[in-house]
C-alpha cells in the first residue's frame, strides 16, 4: 500500500459553487482540484491516481452523465459523487446504475458531502487494494503449469482428489502432489483461501 494522497476532482460550471465546495473539502483536509467543464477535466493529468470526482449533473457541453460514461469507457475507476440542483430520480437511478457512489442534492449538507467523499475514497482504497491483491494472484497463477491450472479449477469447483484423478485419468497421488504445488505457488494455506483467490482471477468489473 503506497501512501499517495487522494485527490478530489470538483467539476462544476458555477464558479461560486465550485469555489465553495472546494473550500469546504480543503478545510476538511483533502487535496482538491477544480474544473469548470468536463472537457477541462478530461485534459487534466494524473487521473489514474487515487481520489474521487464531485460532479455537477447539469453543465454546458458534455453533461455529468456523459462524462461518467466517457470515463467508464476509458477504464478510469475514479468514483463519482453527483451533485444536482434538484432531485431528479430517473437521472439519479441512471447515474447509480452506471456506478456512481452517491447522488447529492444542492444545497448539500457538510456532513453529507464529507461522508460521501470519505465513503468514495474508502471504496476506492478498498478497490485499489483488491486490485493489488488480484494482481498478485494473477502473477502467482502465471507460474502454474497447464496441468496445475486444470487441477486448480477442479479443486475450486469442490471436487475430491479421487474424482479429479478419475476425470483426468491420472493417479490420485499425482493429483495430490500437483495440488500441494498449486497451494504453494498460489501462496495459500487452505482450500477456502484458494477459492477466494480464484474469484480474484475473474475479470473485474472495474
Amino acid at each position: 500500500m503506497t501512501e499517495i494522497v487522494p485527490i478530489i476532482h470538483i467539476i462544476d460550471d458555477d464558479d461560486s459553487v465550485r469555489k465553495a465546495v472546494s473550500r469546504l473539502l480543503k478545510a476538511a483536509g483533502y487535496a482538491v482540484k477544480s474544473y469548470a467543464t468536463s472537457g477541462e477535466f478530461m485534459m487534466a493529468e494524473n487521473l489514474e491516481s487515487p481520489g474521487c470526482i464531485v460532479l455537477d449533473v447539469r453543465m454546458p457541453g458534455p453533461s455529468g452523465l456523459e462524462l461518467q460514461s466517457a470515463l467508464a469507457r476509458r477504464g478510469n475507476g475514479l468514483p463519482i459523487i453527483f451533485l444536482t440542483g434538484h432531485g431528479d430520480i430517473p437521472m439519479s437511478v441512471r447515474a447509480m446504475k452506471a456506478g456512481a457512489v452517491d447522488f447529492l442534492t444542492k444545497p448539500v449538507q457538510r456532513q453529507e458531502l464529507l461522508s460521501a467523499v470519505q465513503n468514495a475514497l474508502d471504496r476506492q482504497a478498498k478497490h485499489l487494494s483488491e486490485q493489488t491483491r488480484n494482481q498478485h494472484i494473477r502473477e502467482c497463477y502465471a507460474t502454474l503449469t497447464e496441468r496445475e491450472r486444470e487441477i486448480m479449477a477442479h479443486v475450486v469447483e469442490g471436487k475430491l482428489n479421487k474424482q479429479i484423478a478419475a476425470t483426468m485419468g491420472i493417479a490420485e497421488r499425482t493429483v495430490k502432489a500437483h495440488r500441494a504445488q498449486v497451494m504453494s505457488k498460489m501462496q495459500v494455506d487452505s482450500l477456502a483461501d484458494l477459492v477466494r483467490t480464484a474469484s480474484g482471477l475473474e475479470p473485474s468489473d472495474g
Binding site: V17, L24, P60, G85
Partner: protein
C-alpha cells in the same frame, strides 16, 4: 334713378337729359338752344355730383336711415339745386338781369323741392314697388288705398278752396296727420308719394288760382307754397326714415334673437343626442345645462341637476381638489381630458361610485366662460382591462410553471455555495490558527451569492405578481438581461445557446417592465420550443437597437422557421403550431406590445429560422396610444 342704376348705364340718362333740357328751355323761348344745351351740362353735372355724393356716403339705398336721409337732403336738397341754378343765374346776372336774387331763390327752391320729393318717391318705387305689389299683404294694400283716398279728399278740401276767401290758415295743416300716417305706416315710400301728391294738389290748384296760397303776387305765393311744402316735407321724410330705421333695427334684433334661440336649440339637440353624459358648468361650478344621458348616468333628474354645484357629482374625497382644478381650468381654458391614467370616480345620486373619463371643452357664451364636460362611464372598459390583466397574468404563470425546475436550480446554486462556504468557514475557524483572510473572503462570497439568489427571487416575484399596467422609465437592455437570468438554466437544460447583442446607450422608454419581460419570455421560450427537433446548433439571439425614434427588439432562433402561410396568423388567438400549445402566448405578446403603442411581427426567411421583432415608441406614454390599446383589448376579450 341714377341712384339705383349702374354707372355704366348713366350715358343714357345723360343724352335724355340733354335733349329734354334743350327742348324745355327752347320752348320757354327765353334763351337760345346752344345756351340751353350748355345749361343742361350743368344740370347733369349737378345731378351727378348729388348722386355720387349720396352713393358715396350711403350704402343703404333708398333712404333707410335718418343718417342717409340727412346726406340725401344735404346733397340733393342743397348741392344739386345750387349747382343747377347758380351758373344760370350767374350768367343772367352777368348779362345784366336785375332780379337775380329772387330768381335764384325761386329756382333753388323749385329744384330743391322737386329733387327732395321726387327722388325718394321714384327710387323707392323702382326698388321695392314691384315687390310690394306682388307680395304685399292685402291689408297693406287696402290701407294704402285708404291713405290715397284720404289724401285726395283732404287735399281737395284744403287746396281747392276759392282763392282769397279768408280760409283759415290752420286748415293747411290738415294734411299733416295723413302725412304722419303715411310716414308711420308706409315709411319713406308712403311719405314721399303722399308728399308728392300734396305738392301736386297744392301746385295744381295754385296754378288754377285756387287754394290758400293764392294772394298777392305770383312770386310771393309761389315762395309761400314752396316754403310750406319744404317745411312739411323735411320732417315727414326724416320721420319716415327714422321709422324705417327703427323697424329695421327691431326686425334685425328680432332676427338675431330668433337666430340665437335657434342656435341654442341646435346646441341643446347636439348635447342631447350625444351618447355621453354632458354637463355645462359655469365658473362658479354651477351646472347650467345637462342632458338625458347625465340623468341616466347619475340618477338625478335634469331639474335636480340644474343649479347644483358640479362637485356634488363627485365622491367626497375629490371635491376639494376639484374646485382647485376647476379654477385652474378657467384660468387657462383649453380642451383637455381628465381621468386618463389616473383613477377618477364620479358619484351617483344613490352614493355609489363609478370610474369615469371626462373630456373638457371651454365654451365662451354670452354669459361668460363655461366648460362643457363629456363624461364617459369606463366601468366596462375597466372590467375588460382587468379581465385582460387576469389573462396576461395567468399566461405568465403558466409559462413560468413550465420551468420551475430550472428556476429552482438558479436559486439553489447560490444557496448551495452559501452553505458550503459557511461550512468551510466554520471548519477553518475550528482550526488552531484560523486563516482569517480566507474567512473574510468566504464571507464576501457568501454575501455575493445571497444577493444573487435574492436577485433571481426578486425577478421571479415580479413576474409572478399580478399587477396593473404600470408606466415607468425602462432601460430595455436591463429587461433583456433580467429575462436571460431567468431563462439561462432552462436554455442550458435544452442545450440552447442564449446570446444577446444589446445596443449601448439606448434611451429609456416609458412602459411596464414586467409586461415587456413577459413578451421576451414568450418569444424566447417559443424559440426554444421551436428548436426541440433541431439537430444543428441551437441558438437564440436577442438584439436591441434604436431605429427612427423607436426601440426595436429582435429574437431570432435557428429552428425550422415559420411557413409563409402561417406568418400572418401567428399572433391570432388559439393559433398554435405546437401540439400542446394553447395559442395564447403570441396573442398576449401582441396585446402587451400594443399596450406600449408598439407593433410586433415575425419574419422567417427560408432556411434561416424565425425572427420575431417588436417596436416600442420612445414616447409611448401618450394617452392616444393607450386608449387605442384599451379599445383593442376590449375587442379582444371573448
Amino acid at each position: 334713378m341714377l341712384l339705383i342704376t349702374h354707372t355704366r348705364q348713366w350715358w343714357k340718362f345723360y343724352i335724355g337729359l340733354c335733349l329734354g333740357a334743350t327742348a324745355a328751355y327752347y320752348e320757354d323761348g327765353q334763351i337760345s338752344a346752344p345756351i340751353a344745351l350748355f345749361a343742361a351740362q350743368f344740370h347733369f353735372a349737378a345731378v351727378v355730383i348729388g348722386v355720387l355724393g349720396i352713393r358715396r356716403f350711403v350704402a343703404d339705398i333708398p333712404f333707410g336711415t335718418v343718417g342717409t336721409m340727412l346726406v340725401f337732403v344735404a346733397s340733393a336738397g342743397l348741392l344739386v339745386p345750387l349747382a343747377t341754378s347758380a351758373p344760370i343765374e350767374l350768367t343772367r346776372w352777368a348779362m345784366g338781369a336785375d332780379d337775380v336774387v329772387a330768381s335764384t331763390l325761386r329756382s333753388f327752391l323749385c329744384v330743391s323741392l322737386g329733387v327732395v320729393l321726387a327722388s325718394p318717391a321714384f327710387t323707392t318705387l323702382l326698388v321695392s314697388g314691384a315687390d310690394w305689389i306682388r307680395s304685399g299683404s292685402w291689408q297693406s294694400k287696402l290701407e294704402a288705398a285708404l291713405l290715397a283716398i284720404s289724401l285726395v279728399v283732404v287735399g281737395q278740401v284744403v287746396f281747392s278752396s276759392p282763392a282769397g276767401t279768408g280760409t283759415l290758415p290752420a286748415l293747411i295743416y290738415a294734411p299733416i296727420p295723413i302725412l304722419l300716417w303715411a310716414a308711420l305706416r308706409f315709411e319713406v315710400a308712403g311719405a314721399s308719394w303722399s308728399l308728392l301728391a300734396i305738392a301736386y294738389q297744392s301746385t295744381w290748384n295754385a296754378i288754377n288760382d285756387r287754394g290758400p296760397f293764392v294772394s298777392g303776387s305770383t312770386d310771393d305765393y309761389v315762395l309761400q307754397m314752396q316754403l310750406f311744402l319744404l317745411a312739411v316735407s323735411l320732417p315727414v321724410l326724416f320721420m319716415a326714415a327714422g321709422v324705417h330705421e327703427r323697424r329695421r333695427a327691431f326686425s334685425l334684433l328680432v332676427g338675431e334673437i330668433e337666430e340665437r334661440r335657434r342656435m341654442e336649440e341646435r346646441f341643446r339637440l347636439v348635447v342631447e343626442s350625444t351618447p355621453n353624459a354632458m354637463l355645462m358648468v359655469d365658473q362658479t361650478g354651477e351646472i347650467v345645462l345637462s342632458n338625458k344621458q347625465t340623468e341616466r348616468l347619475f340618477g338625478f333628474r335634469q331639474q335636480e341637476l340644474l343649479g347644483r354645484a358640479v362637485e356634488e357629482l363627485l365622491p367626497e374625497r375629490f371635491r376639494q381638489d376639484h374646485v382647485i382644478y376647476r379654477q385652474a381650468f378657467f384660468a387657462d381654458p383649453k380642451t383637455r381630458s381628465i381621468g386618463l391614467g389616473t383613477e377618477l370616480f364620479a358619484r351617483r345620486a344613490d352614493g355609489s361610485e363609478f370610474p369615469v373619463e371626462i373630456g373638457l371643452t371651454p365654451i365662451d357664451t354670452g354669459n361668460g366662460a363655461m366648460v362643457l364636460a363629456a363624461i364617459v362611464d369606463i366601468s366596462e372598459r375597466k372590467r375588460a382591462e382587468e379581465a385582460q390583466q387576469e389573462l396576461v397574468h395567468a399566461s405568465r404563470l403558466a409559462m413560468l410553471s413550465e420551468f420551475t425546475a430550472t428556476i429552482a436550480h438558479e436559486i439553489n446554486q447560490p444557496l448551495g455555495a452559501i452553505l458550503s462556504n459557511a461550512d468551510a468557514a466554520e471548519m477553518l475557524l475550528e482550526s488552531s490558527a484560523p486563516p482569517l483572510d480566507e474567512v473574510r473572503q468566504i464571507l464576501a462570497d457568501i454575501r455575493d451569492d445571497d444577493l444573487r439568489a435574492s436577485n433571481v427571487i426578486r425577478k421571479l416575484r415580479g413576474l409572478l405578481r399580478r399587477g396593473e399596467f404600470e408606466r415607468e422609465p425602462i432601460d430595455i437592455n436591463s429587461v433583456v438581461a433580467d429575462v436571460m437570468v431567468i431563462l439561462r438554466a432552462e436554455a442550458q437544460r435544452r442545450g440552447v445557446e442564449l446570446r444577446s447583442e444589446l445596443a449601448p446607450d439606448l434611451p429609456e422608454l416609458l412602459g411596464d417592465k414586467i409586461h415587456l419581460q413577459q413578451v421576451l419570455l414568450n418569444l424566447i421560450v417559443n424559440g426554444m420550443e421551436a428548436m426541440v427537433e433541431t439537430t444543428g446548433p441551437k441558438k437564440i439571439s436577442i438584439a436591441t437597437y434604436q431605429n427612427d425614434g423607436q426601440i426595436q427588439v429582435s429574437v431570432s432562433d435557428t429552428g425550422p422557421g415559420v411557413s409563409p402561410e402561417r406568418l400572418p396568423r401567428l399572433f391570432d388567438r388559439f393559433f398554435s403550431t405546437k401540439k400542446e400549445g394553447m395559442g395564447m402566448g403570441l396573442a398576449i405578446s401582441r396585446s402587451l406590445v400594443e399596450e406600449h403603442g408598439g407593433r410586433i411581427w415575425a419574419e422567417s426567411p427560408p432556411s434561416e429560422g424565425a425572427t420575431f421583432r417588436f417596436n416600442l415608441p420612445l414616447d409611448c406614454g401618450q394617452a392616444g396610444s393607450r386608449d387605442a390599446a384599451a379599445i383593442d383589448s376590449q375587442e379582444q376579450n371573448p
